[in-house]
């Protein structure tokens, strides 16, 4: 029984039973067992549908997804360079707009999507993404964050959780913790810095269910340049059994270490309010991952204190690290 092939609408997916059935990123990729970043690919493609063009910046979701002469993509996809996520989307959006305006291709809404990993988006490509978010093109940049350079066998990035073991930050007999940077707060940084960008969000691909797909649709419906930062537990680099990849996302969100929210026209909307629901101890998140196996109690306490500060002391809890009150400098 053939069903009607639907084209994308920007309706909210109300429940799992009304989730679009058709895949636009399909089987036959080379991602890890239990890969949450593959879920990000699958879900954004499902949410956007066929009238979409995609660029993927260098990273594990480039190298793992295609192997030459074969592809898992149903929608058009093109590689872009590690730091070119933002500019690749601008280039496609600009080209399509010009060709439509000049009547060379039919005038229609085509979703322009770039995905970049944390190394590409939060580190190398942050300038290009900033440039993209200043434009008036309809485009969506998704930063899939597995907190490492996962394509080069797990190196630390600006988005790696404090204390994590990576091949660039191994624990040693003198230095237990080599990765001493606190995770870059990328989504608010982009929201704060680009007041005309109407939609910035964080998400986890599988928790809460449908949340990410609906955020993709909301971003496209609101239009203009938009940005979503996804939280992608990585069985390989974080060292947990692939069966737990969804659970790790859930535990991460519930511990408050990865807050879920949308920033719509400057308005912060918590999509999982860890304050009201009560945060579970960060330890429950950390102890489930081999990359934190070398941490001792005082390290865990430090991370917990930092997460507590995010929620208890920040002016916009979990989002913006400003402190309340307007101090006036005296000279």
């Amino acid at each position: 029984m053939a069903t009607q092939l639907p084209v994308v609408d920007y309706e909210k997916i109300k429940n799992v039973h009304t989730t679009p059935l058709e895949e636009f990123y399909t089987s036959g990729h080379r991602t890890c067992q239990g890969c949450e970043s593959a879920m990000v690919m699958r879900d954004f493609a499902k949410a956007t549908g066929p009238r979409t063009v995609v660029t993927g910046a260098t990273g594990c979701m480039y190298v793992a997804n295609t192997s030459y002469l074969t592809t898992p993509w149903v929608v058009p996809w093109m590689h872009t360079q590690l730091g070119a996520g933002g500019s690749s989307a601008v280039g496609m959006a600009a080209g399509l707009r010009a060709l439509m305006r000049k009547g060379r291709i039919p005038n229609e809404k085509i979703n322009v999507i770039n995905f970049s990993g944390d190394l590409g988006a939060a580190d190398m490509g942050i300038g290009g993404i900033s440039g993209a978010l200043q434009t008036d093109y309809d485009l969506l940049i998704i930063m899939y964050d597995n907190e490492s350079a996962a394509n080069t066998d797990i190196q630390a990035t600006g988005s790696t959780t404090y204390g994590a073991q990576t091949t660039f930050t191994p624990p040693g007999s003198k230095h237990r913790i080599m990765h001493r940077r606190w995770k870059k707060n990328i989504a608010p940084m982009l929201a704060v810095g680009h007041p005309t960008c109407r939609y910035v969000a964080t998400a986890s691909a599988t928790f809460p269910a449908l949340d990410f797909m609906n955020k993709v649709r909301k971003a496209l419906a609101i239009g203009g340049p938009t940005f979503i930062h996804t939280f992608d537990p990585c069985p390989k680099g974080w060292d947990f059994h692939p069966k737990y990849s969804r659970e790790l996302g859930e535990v991460g969100v519930k511990s408050g270490i990865f807050p879920l929210y949308e920033i719509i026209d400057g308005q912060v909307v918590y999509t999982y309010d860890a304050r009201k629901k009560g945060r579970i101890p960060v330890r429950e998140y950390l102890e489930k991952q081999g990359r934190f196996a070398h941490l001792i109690d005082e390290d865990v306490d430090h991370i917990q204190r930092m997460v507590d500060a995010m929620w208890n002391e920040w002016e916009v809890p979990g989002v913006a690290p400003f402190k309340a009150g307007l101090a006036v400098a005296t000279t």
Partner: protein
Amino acid sequence: MIKRVEVNYRGIFQKNLGKYIGSDIVMIASRMGKVAFSNGRYSDSPERNGIPCKYFAFVSPDLSEEELEAECGAKLDIDEADVSVVLDETMVKGVEPWGWHGVRPINEKVREKGCLLVVARHPHDELLEFIGKKPYHYRLATLDGDASLAGLWVNKDDLTRERVLGAIAAVDPGIISIEAVEAHLLEKTKDEHRAQAARDAYNATLHRIKLVAPGEGIDWPHEVPVLPKWHEFEEGGVVVPAVKRGFELGPRGQTRNDAFKRGTTKTHRPVVRFDLCIKCTLCWLDCPDECFDPTDDGLYDVNYEVCVGCHKCAAVCPVPECIVMVDELKFHDDSSPWEAHKRNPAEYIKWAEEKKGTVRLNYPHVTGTGYEVTEGKTVPPKTTAASGTKAGSQA
């Protein structure tokens, strides 16, 4: 003379183990006065969880280091192996590391009189039900044990490494001798029991070598792709046609990447009791490999050709015993389980329960810390609503 050892392992889970074994062979051969080196197949890197990968070690009693490197170094793959070690027995079903490799027989590289050495729980004859036939004699040896799975940072020290070294000495002492293995382990670790583990494995393996006759094994069902010449494929900007769009309800209703399926990644496959399904959608919704096909009765068929055995569906399924991960070697084909269930629900349930058995492997969060074995229970068929038509309320 050159002795070539190939270590087939599961990406990431056995990455460190595979590399350690390669390194040990070099060090042991060196102490025997031989020239040796080891390397990995570079195109396997970066590895992915579960993807079949290879590590190599090369040993020669008479060649210079430069000649050995010239013969064996930096190749995409080796031409033949004196010993092909297999660290996870489910890889005997074939390995497909990349799109253009095709599904390759596990014994592809084993030379005449060479040895395929498998860490296995299954006996030789059962393994040969999956292994392609060769035109010449070779040996099949087994080393009793489970696939030793660990993660990138937390290793599993379960003596598999030492035991494999002992077994290699048993099947080809021309590579490393058991005496040199023992001496190496003792010197390096000062642990008597490590040397003993190698010696025990050596003794056991000597009795578990089967001579495989020409033509013994199966006709290999997979085609090995022939790569086109430079002028035989689309020129200009490395452009590849996308997967053709298409979806309909039912088995294989979703179009997929036909040229790379990588079902050989799995050690376990999900067996589904469709009669217990409450149609919560989670197995389908959370599958990172798009291997569940929605059907017109609200169930989800499994396409085992593309399932990589991540266990996630079994983890998210809220119904006990509805989705259970089962040893991949219990299955001889990838046909649709939903169709089998539709044909005869009672028979399918009986079949599924047989496959499931009662042994349940419970992996901890950090893979390298071991696993628990618990007993599963047999759930009786759910009344008359065989295909679970109105099961939604029973969550």
